[in-house]
Symmetry: C2
Subunit: 249 residues, 2 copies
Amino acid sequence: MQTSGCLIIIGNEILSGRTQDKNLSWIAKELNETGIRLTEVRVIPDIEDTIIETVNLCRKNHAYVFTTGGIGPTHDDITSAAIAKAFGVPLEKNTDAVAILERHYDKAKLNEARLKMAHMPRGSALILNPVSAAPGFRIENVYVMAGVPEIMQAMFGQVKHELKGGAKMLSKTVSAYVTEGNIAAGLSAIQDRYPDVEIGSYPFVRQNQLGTSLVARATDASRIEAASAEIKALLLGLCDKVFEEDWVN
Amino acid sequence: MQTSGCLIIIGNEILSGRTQDKNLSWIAKELNETGIRLTEVRVIPDIEDTIIETVNLCRKNHAYVFTTGGIGPTHDDITSAAIAKAFGVPLEKNTDAVAILERHYDKAKLNEARLKMAHMPRGSALILNPVSAAPGFRIENVYVMAGVPEIMQAMFGQVKHELKGGAKMLSKTVSAYVTEGNIAAGLSAIQDRYPDVEIGSYPFVRQNQLGTSLVARATDASRIEAASAEIKALLLGLCDKVFEEDWVN
């Protein structure tokens, strides 16, 4: 059994196309290592009602919810306040978070805006931030992290050990310069023989040549090996060379 | 007034972290040029019920819905069939799509798997594919496109002219090596004076220096200019140099 995770990316800058999200694939891979499968991602704007509604829906449907973005000191950082409302608890100054900010900033620099970053929903546990001090937080199954990848990654590193997943999804990729249309029937037959292995087919263009990557995913390594051997044989019936990658996510 | 758009990214390969999505930001920028604002993105797995439910929800809530992924010839390409079910119409062979595939492929190569790509929900209009022939389709306000960026972009180019948006969102970015915490109060005051301009604050790290990009967005260029002038003055009170980018999305 796999445990299900959801990522909520909060930020107008992602939806406007200004900023290319880099957190999704990073978090997906990290979660997989703990046996949690990312099964839903939502990208939503910095609008309070939308954040409240999305968080409340996702935290019911998933074992773990992660949010990125909107916990800085400026007026457009509204995630913490919205999450307090989602949980129906007050947003209040977290004394541990204040102490962290006091250690990090000179007294003169610890202004009201920076202290805003110490405001969290009542009952939150801090997620420490080894990069820039201001912590994220966890409330129940919702992990609230920064949007800047370097900071988010450092925060995730602080909580990874406490995530309890199921079996880890393993995978093997076999690629070749063969087009999907030529292997679809044979591949479908292999998929039918391995209902417990998820076989994905992903076309690519490399050096102006069309190819396909076939990814077998399952929690049982021996089943992946068996399915991949059949995939490899299928490809080698149509071309001279295949490329294999083991155990990539 | 802005028209709202939604993107549904369909594919296990995005959720597993294997493939880095590049379609979101590209589509966001293109939509903005037509006065459509991307206000929601969902990333969902190749699971029929999930596709049906998500498409039916999003097409009610948005003027335009775009999907990427899952329209190829292999067993894991289930988007077209799921969308037919979402609309409650049969999935059937589209004769125009068949004609296109017949022109593109040698008769021997046009196998059943490739003909699968000509199956579409009844009532669909084709979205031509100048890259690899197999078309996408539109049904009502839902545009169904390929996941491979080069193909998706070519398909989008075929339909862009028919999208009817509202006022185009303009923007101006002013950046400086100033931290968010030092400008938050002043910035909030500017935001209060310009309720019709959306001011976003985005920290960055460049050459090991912390900085902030301030993005003013609105449909009225003169209001952006006025707000940006105040933002620039705020920054120049704290540092010697600002960087300006005009009319980026």
